[in-house]
């Protein structure tokens, strides 16, 4: 177990020193610019716009980074053969994958944490005080982190057998498709026969990002049910575990060139 933690810690260190967190600067600029602009032009809906824009930006920045570092850091280890000196030690391949996953999610968590501070600061700037319904923003952020968890696992799964570029394409496509997962299940229900079987299978295999997106709800200060929080958490964990298991199974059999 300690080896998994070591690998995770090293992954985190690599990401930080690779200047991944520099994206926060772009995020901060975007958000403060938007906050100032919104404060001046849209009367009455400043809060709505800041929450919508802030959370969407957190999500999109995070998604890009999750895919980018998820694939980048793993494929780099293979390409530059640093993996050789790791796997010739008493490190099992699954420990490497799990360690990488934990390190990547740790990085994204820290990244999201700073972005969250930015969102709340912008919120404070436009509405001058916090209200109790702002707590739901934390839930939305938590769901966004759950999305990153799934994406990281998928990025690892794809890098375990595919080239970095293809992996990025796969992961990003799944993110887009997964954002319409509920509509996909709707389509599946409406089709017939063999097509229905195939569509249903596909609809259940695609990661369900739509249930994890509650930005709209939160922006309108609507509460989120405890059931949804519980199921979403369990779902994200189960789906990530599934992708990680797939990555381990493939990676266990892979020849490192």
């Amino acid at each position: 177990m300690s080896r998994v933690v070591r690998i995770a810690a090293n992954t985190f260190r690599e990401a930080v020193r690779d200047r991944v967190l520099y994206n926060l600067i772009a995020f901060a600029l975007l958000l403060s610019g938007a906050a100032i602009l919104v404060g001046q032009i849209s009367v009455g809906i400043e809060r709505l716009v800041v929450v919508n824009l802030g959370l969407t930006a957190v999500s999109l920045f995070g998604v890009v980074i999750a895919i980018f570092i998820g694939i980048g850091l793993v494929s780099k280890e293979m390409e530059k053969r640093t993996l050789y000196t790791v796997l010739s030690r008493p490190v099992r391949r699954w420990e490497f994958i799990v360690g990488k996953f934990l390190g990547l999610t740790g990085t994204l968590f820290v990244n999201t944490f700073f972005m969250a501070i930015g969102v709340f600061a912008a919120l404070l700037y436009v509405s001058h005080k916090f209200q109790s319904s702002d707590a739901w923003i934390l839930v939305a952020l938590f769901f966004i982190v759950l999305q990153f968890l799934i994406l990281c696992a998928l990025a690892l799964l794809f890098s375990s057998f595919s080239s970095p570029l293809l992996s990025a394409v796969f992961a990003f496509s799944l993110f887009v498709i997964g954002s319409f997962a509920e509509d996909l299940r709707g389509f599946a229900r409406m089709s017939r026969g063999l097509a229905q079987g195939l569509a249903t299978t596909a609809a259940y295999l695609v990661p369900n990002f739509s249930a994890l997106n509650v930005i709209g709800q939160v922006a309108h200060e609507q509460p989120i049910s405890a059931h949804l929080i519980a199921y979403n958490t369990a779902y994200a964990l189960a789906y990530s575990a599934m992708a990680i298991c797939g990555a381990v199974l493939i990676f266990e059999r892979r020849n490192l060139k």
Binding site: R81, P90, V91
Partner: protein, 313 residues
């Protein structure tokens, strides 16, 4: 005790995207290396040396056969604590300093936290990187990286050390240092298994060598044994205006530069050659045995192998 043992270890890659064709990287290999030996693994580029090392490290999954290190199957992760490995042209995490890198590897190898700092300091000293300990590896030269690579391979005091082309990319001083290091490891009773295509290194360091070519083991043995099977050559130098008749019949290679003639003849023809020179009343300047008999052996094994396979050379 047997340090390294391979039993019919083989690897065939499937190449191509659609219709995969098999490409044999290593034919069934049976090899035994005793503990405390320095073992040289010789062969031209692409002969299967790196494949063999990767198989032994568990980086590549064998198509057939097994291998054991210190009596344990290589699948068992625990055995890897006893192994040190230097990959060919090593490359490490750019963003770490030499010290951080060694710390990370020491943790992965399960070096006791108490000993860690002491061992790392000592190792940096030993490979001459003490001053560069806090420099990020991205600023390291190729030679320095090779030193870091050696340091990480022996850091955790392994019993068996695998080095893939340890001398490549090093200047003469660096090569000398690596040689000294290998000698030192031998003194400590470690088993060293290294691949190289530089024969003089192998000849100077190895107890035994193996020659591999086109994925096939072509010969194994003590350096002395192997070279004895190959007839040596001698070099004769004298002053004269022309090569006397009869030399070509001896199978000699002659070179003239000015008044000096240099001829290399097989050792068995030495007496005949001297006889010719005596008869022609020519004065011999020197007679020296040509020492590269391991090279002779190597060339013989490698070119023998090449012919039936129809390769270019």
């Amino acid at each position: 005790m047997v340090a390294i043992e391979t039993i019919n270890l083989e690897k065939t890659y499937a190449v191509g995207f659609w219709r995969k064709k098999p490409r044999v990287a290593l034919r069934p290999l049976n090899l035994t290396v005793e503990e405390g030996e320095v073992f040289g693994f010789l062969g031209p580029n692409g002969a299967g040396k790196t494949t063999t090392l990767k198989l032994l490290m568990g980086l590549v999954i064998p198509t057939g056969g097994t291998a054991r290190i210190l009596g344990k199957n290589i699948d068992e992760a625990e055995i890897k604590a006893q192994i040190g490995f230097l990959p060919e042209q090593p490359y490490f995490y750019d963003y770490l300093t030499a010290k951080e890198l060694l710390e990370y590897y020491a943790q992965l190898s399960g070096v006791e936290p108490k000993e860690r700092t002491r061992k790392i300091e000592a190792m940096l000293e030993r490979v001459g990187l003490k001053d560069a300990a806090r420099v990020q590896l991205r600023k390291f030269s190729k030679g320095m990286l090779q030193r870091v690579g050696l340091a990480q391979a022996i850091l955790h005091d392994p019993k068996v050390i695998f080095l893939d082309e340890p001398m490549s990319g090093l200047d003469p001083m660096g090569r000398r240092e690596v040689r000294d290091l290998i000698e030192e490891l031998k003194q400590q009773g470690k088993t060293v298994f290294f691949s190289t295509h530089i024969l003089s290194d192998a000849e100077a360091l190895c107890d035994r060598v193996a020659v591999i070519h086109q994925g096939e083991l072509r010969g194994v043995g003590h350096v002395a044994e192997l070279t004895s099977s190959v007839a040596g050559k001698v070099e004769l130098i004298w002053n004269g205006s022309a090569v006397p008749d009869g030399f070509s019949a001896l199978g000699a290679e002659c070179h003239m530069s000015g008044e000096t003639i240099r001829a290399v003849v097989p050792e068995v023809q030495q007496e005949a050659a001297l006889e010719i020179l005596r008869r022609e009343r020519l004065r011999l300047n020197s007679l020296t045995p040509v020492r590269s008999s391991l090279e002779e052996y190597y060339v013989q094994k490698v070119s023998l192998a090449a012919k039936p396979a129809g390769a270019a050379r």
